[in-house]
């Protein structure tokens, strides 16, 4: 069965260890939420899985294991990660505008991702799938004219066009209004239903009920707890949950 497994992953910047022990598993079609306070190492864990850390030495310990289409990858060196990036592991960024090339049209960027995936379809079709009512117009536009929600949907379209087997979604709903958030989550759920495993990094537990298959809690660079729903958290996750409940008014 297809799965993405991180085992006792360690990440360091210089002499500082930023992620001590990240252990989690994402199966095909699953949405695994990785939650935790800011600075707990969620984003670094996701980036480390792709071998894309912006500092050295970066990934220093543990194992990344990806099983897909009957093959097992345990990337060690940059060349191994290269073989995984894109086709096997994809990334959806928090800052969608930053993740799009400012000087190329949305359509050109979707098309480029499609070509990498071996597709020859039109970008408008992918843009329509993420809910744009006027995909032809969006395809002609540059990222800076899009609203935050539109940019995130455009970035989602680029990620979908690449057709990765696993998607690492790094707070893709942060800073968006609730209706756009719901739309993004619905699209991600549909992607998962088609068999893609999603690691969904967030600090907002309110998004998770009915969306995430499992919740993994990270604290100070360690994965410390795992539960089927946020309500079932008891340890470190409980503090996060209580804080969320005080804001959300007991809706969880």
């Amino acid at each position: 069965m297809d799965e993405l497994v991180l085992e006792r992953l360690r990440v360091a910047a210089g002499a500082r260890t930023l992620v001590e022990d990240a252990t989690l598993r994402v199966g095909a079609g699953e949405i695994v939420a990785l939650v935790g306070a800011s600075g707990s190492g969620k984003t670094l864990t996701a980036r480390a899985a792709l071998g894309l850390l912006p500092f050295t030495p970066g990934w220093v310990g543990g194992q990344i294991r990806v099983t897909t289409e009957g093959r097992v990858f345990t990337p060690r060196a940059e060349a191994d990660f290269r073989a995984l990036r894109g086709g096997v592991l994809g990334l959806l960024w928090q800052d969608a505008r930053g993740a799009l090339d400012p000087l190329r049209t949305v359509g050109a960027q979707v098309t480029a991702a499609s070509r990498l995936a071996g597709d020859t379809g039109r970008p408008e079709d992918v843009l329509a799938r993420v809910g744009f009512s006027d995909p032809a117009q969006v395809a002609r536009q540059h990222p800076h004219v899009l609203s935050g929600g539109m940019a995130q949907r455009a970035a989602l379209a680029v990620a979908l066009a690449r057709r990765s087997r696993f998607l690492l979604a790094d707070e893709p709903t942060t800073g968006l209004d609730p209706s756009v958030q719901r739309g993004i989550l619905a699209h991600l759920a549909a992607v998962a239903a088609s068999g893609v495993g999603i690691l969904f990094v967030t600090h907002d537990l309110r998004l998770l009920p009915g969306f995430a298959s499992r919740v993994v809690v990270m604290d100070a660079g360690r994965t410390v707890e795992e539960a089927p729903t946020p309500g079932a958290l008891v340890g470190h996750g409980r503090a996060l949950l209580d804080a969320t409940r005080r804001i959300a008014g007991g809706a969880l």
Binding site: R85, W93, A99, D101, L116, L146, V158
Partner: protein, 285 residues
């Protein structure tokens, strides 16, 4: 249309009418290139045109810009004078562009000691004023036009490299570059296509056009001063200026026209370069 809709429809490529600087610049440079092509295909004998009987005529239908004090047609000499700088100027621009793009791209992408080495090499060249650098090269290797072109290209390469280096360094860690890497796009393609071409070509174009204009200024200066540049009777805009300026009762167009031509060509390069460079810079913000 609502303001928001107008914003969303903001055309990525403004129509030509909204880019007057680019249009004027392109027309001026296009005129220079046309003159050069014309001079290539239509023969003009620079010696046989001498005719004292029609010296220093004012502009007329027969001689659009009049004649110089040897009776040679000024318009013809202006057209033929473009040969003194167009091809070597393009060569200098190409050399500056190639060296600058290679150095700037590699330094900006790799950073670290490579960037330090490239920047140091560029600073060594740039520490000598460009005109002095070109004159030195001419003095050492002979005042051949090829030497001047290569020296100009070398003198202008650091500016191209420095500008592109800064641009690529700034974008190297941009999220969209990481996103492309996450998509499995090879680094070489990200650097060559996404950074240098998509995000850096306007900047490079501006510096390359400036190199072309600088060669024109170098050539004009040298042939105006005599000795180093193109020698009479072969016309260049610089020696036409020097040859006719201050002639008693001369045709003022015989020196004003080449002077204006130098000014117009440099203005064209500056306007077009500014438009190409600025439009790209605006998209960074």
């Amino acid at each position: 249309m609502s303001a928001a809709a107008a914003l969303r429809e903001g055309a990525p490529e403004a129509p030509a009418a909204a880019r007057p600087a680019a249009v004027v610049g392109a027309l001026l440079l296009g005129g220079v290139l046309l003159a050069w092509l014309f001079a290539l295909v239509v023969p003009y004998d620079v010696v046989a045109d001498v005719n004292p009987a029609r010296a220093s005529l004012r502009p007329s239908a027969a001689h659009w810009l009049g004649t110089d004090h040897l009776g040679r047609d000024v318009a013809w000499r202006l057209v033929v004078g473009s040969r003194a700088f167009v091809l070597p100027g393009l060569g200098a621009a190409l050399l500056a562009g190639l060296l600058g793009v290679a150095g700037g791209a590699v330094a900006g992408w790799l950073g670290g000691p490579v960037a330090t080495a490239v920047r140091y090499a560029g600073n060594v060249v740039a520490s000598i004023p460009r005109l002095v650098f070109v004159l030195l090269a001419g003095a050492v290797f002979g005042p051949d036009v090829h030497v001047l072109a290569v020296a100009t290209g070398l003198a202008c390469a650091p500016a191209v490299a420095e500008a592109l280096h800064a641009r690529i360094e700034a974008l190297r860690r941009a999220e969209f570059v990481l996103a492309l890497q996450a998509h499995g796009v090879p680094d070489a393609r990200i650097l060559a296509w996404h950074l240098v071409w998509v995000n850096g070509r306007g900047l490079v174009a501006r510096n390359v056009l400036a190199t072309f204009a600088f060669f024109l200024v170098v050539e004009t200066t040298l042939s105006y001063l005599g000795g180093f540049g193109v020698q009479e009777p072969t016309p260049s805009w610089g020696n036409m200026l020097a040859f006719e300026f201050g002639i008693p009762d001369g045709n003022p167009w015989a020196w004003a026209a080449p002077g204006l031509a130098v000014w117009a060509a440099c203005l064209g390069a500056a306007l077009l370069g500014q438009d190409l460079g600025l439009r790209e810079g605006a998209a960074d913000g």
